[in-house]
Amino acid sequence: MTTMNKVSSKPVKINVPLLTTTQRRLLRQLIIHLVLLSGVFFMLIPLIWSISSSLKSAGDVYALPPKWIPNPIHWENYAEAVTAIPFWRYLWNTTFITLVSIVGKVFSVTLVAFAFARLEWWGRDFFFVVMLATMMLPPHVTLIPQFILFKYLGWIDTFLPLIVPQFFGGPYLTFLARQFFMTLPRDLDDAARIDGCSNFGVFWRVILPMSKPVIAMIVVIVFNNQWNEFLNALIYLQNSKNFTLALGLRMFQGEAAASWHLLMAASILTMLPVLVLFFSAQKYFMQGIVFTGVKQ
């Protein structure tokens, strides 16, 4: 009996000073939420601060201590920023380059991925390995010769150097699409072939209609890359009529060095399409990175 008492008294001793399991779990959850919320604070405060700055008067931007909620709200900062630089022109240039790039990339990438996923051809495995190897290749190695090539073609100060290479696939996105095509059932291909479809017919009528998720991922990734492209735009676009938003912002930074309320308004406007796309297609943003990050 005495030994029994000793044994049963042990867990009691541990439980007495501490909380119950549910309380402990709640406390743990509370701590996790506090840590996460402070992380969220660090993540979102720069954005909130820049939006707040963009709506202040020129004087309030430098007010000490800072005001979080601008009073009155200066919406006209946005109008001023848009007229201080040829904003609509840059917006159109950026939109044009981005949209054409998306079309080129989606077509070339899916065609090549189809060849790697579904067709038998001499050299396929060799070229697949080569393509995977080029994924590791840093783009700056080809930067200077490409510039010289485009210079000789007379393409400097046109959109062509930014657009044309997009029509030649790309290892990363091709791999993404190829991995997706591999998961589609082959029975449908065979059925279509029996019905007399050519390879292109299978690609166009069978594979592409089933590939909306991966096409959406490609669109999102290309949009984000081309919308923010800076180094290439800086090298190839010289006349300010041809500037993209990124180049326009850089120029505006030099002109309006101290007008942070206007610079922030222009920056927010530049980020806005990406933000809108993010909130409307968040799923595809995340799928894209998880797909390539976890499945090596």
Binding site: V40, P65, V112, F127, I144, I289
Partner: protein
């Protein structure tokens, strides 16, 4: 004659058997479908790479005739202190920002994986900044780091700290860019979260039966099973960190006192401001070799710390 008639049929036969037009017909569609990338590979990748290698041994300003100079560009690199400086800046940045982002990203992912309420909100909030990039983000952070009126120093003054002038201070400019890089940690966190969710819960249950708790569980289950994902992110992270350009160009211009002169920025200045195409190409190859060596080192080291489920468990 006799010998010829003996030999010829044997020689000709395999050629007759090999039907060239049939071979072409069989492969034609594959080549056609893959042609955008195959052509692109030669025109935009292999050709320029070889050209870049050739240019590295020349002097050329794009106007006067091109001149072969042998190893002069590489010899100049040893004399030019800015090459050493740019390599130092770039490597320090990679060695600090990449591990920092891996650790913070994994930490966030583990907190998100703790079956909490509001997961979707947190996931979106952490992920959002990482989709923003480019000049607008660089401007935003320049304003945050502004010495007198920037949010960071104003926040520090609330707790009685006189902050440095960040981007204007040669000791703080590079750390500032490292801090800024953590803003993009969300992408990694989402990838780690997906990896964590793929770890079978039986493993944790089994560990609990064996008496493993908290940190023990982390080091014996979570971390080993996450190493393949961490390994991939390490490789990608290093490659990206070695190619920083936009932040440095917009926020510091390489200064103050060359404290943020990243290699790509110095390459850009040489090629497109001083028109030294040969020297810039040589620089590109040095960075390329640096990237390959680092990637190779990470790969070589991976066998001792990356755990693949297919392998025997005795490896830990």
């Amino acid at each position: 004659m006799a010998i010829r008639s003996l030999i010829l049929p044997r020689k000709v036969k395999p050629i007759r058997n090999f039907d060239f037009s049939r071979w072409v017909r069989k492969n034609k569609d594959g080549w056609l479908f893959a042609s955008p990338w195959i052509i692109g590979f030669f025109v935009w990748t292999l050709g320029p790479m070889l050209a870049s290698l050739g240019l590295a041994f020349t002097d050329w300003d794009l106007i006067s005739p091109i001149q072969f100079v042998g190893l002069k560009n590489f010899q100049m690199m040893f004399k030019d202190p800015l090459v050493g400086q740019s390599l130092k800046v770039t490597i320090i940045y990679a060695l600090t920002s990449v591990p920092l982002n891996l650790a913070v990203g994994l930490g966030i992912a583990m907190l998100l994986n703790a079956r909490i309420i509001g997961l979707r909100f947190y996931r979106t909030a952490f992920y959002l900044p990482s989709v923003l990039s480019g000049v607008a983000v660089a401007l935003l952070w320049r304003w945050l780091f502004s010495p007198e009126f920037g949010l960071i120093n104003q926040g520090l003054s609330l707790i009685g700290i006189q902050g440095p002038s960040w981007l204007g201070d040669q000791n703080w400019a590079l750390p500032s860019l490292v801090v800024m890089s953590v803003w993009g940690v969300g992408a990694g966190a989402i990838i780690y979260l997906a990896g964590l969710q793929g770890i079978p819960t039986e493993l944790y249950e089994a560990a609990e039966v064996d008496g493993a708790r908290g940190w023990q569980r982390f080091f014996s289950i979570t971390l080993p099973l996450m190493t393949p994902v961490l390994f991939f992110q390490l490789v990608v992270g290093v490659i990206n960190a070695l190619q920083v350009f936009t932040q440095a160009y917009i926020m510091t211009g390489g200064g103050p006192n060359r404290a943020t002169l990243f290699v790509i920025l110095y390459l850009y200045q040489n090629a497109f401001q001083y028109q030294r195409m040969g020297f810039a190409s040589a620089l590109a190859w040095v960075l390329f070799i640096l990237i390959m060596v680092l990637t190779l080192l990470i790969y070589r080291s991976s066998s001792s710390w990356v755990y693949y489920e297919g392998e025997s468990k005795s490896k830990r």
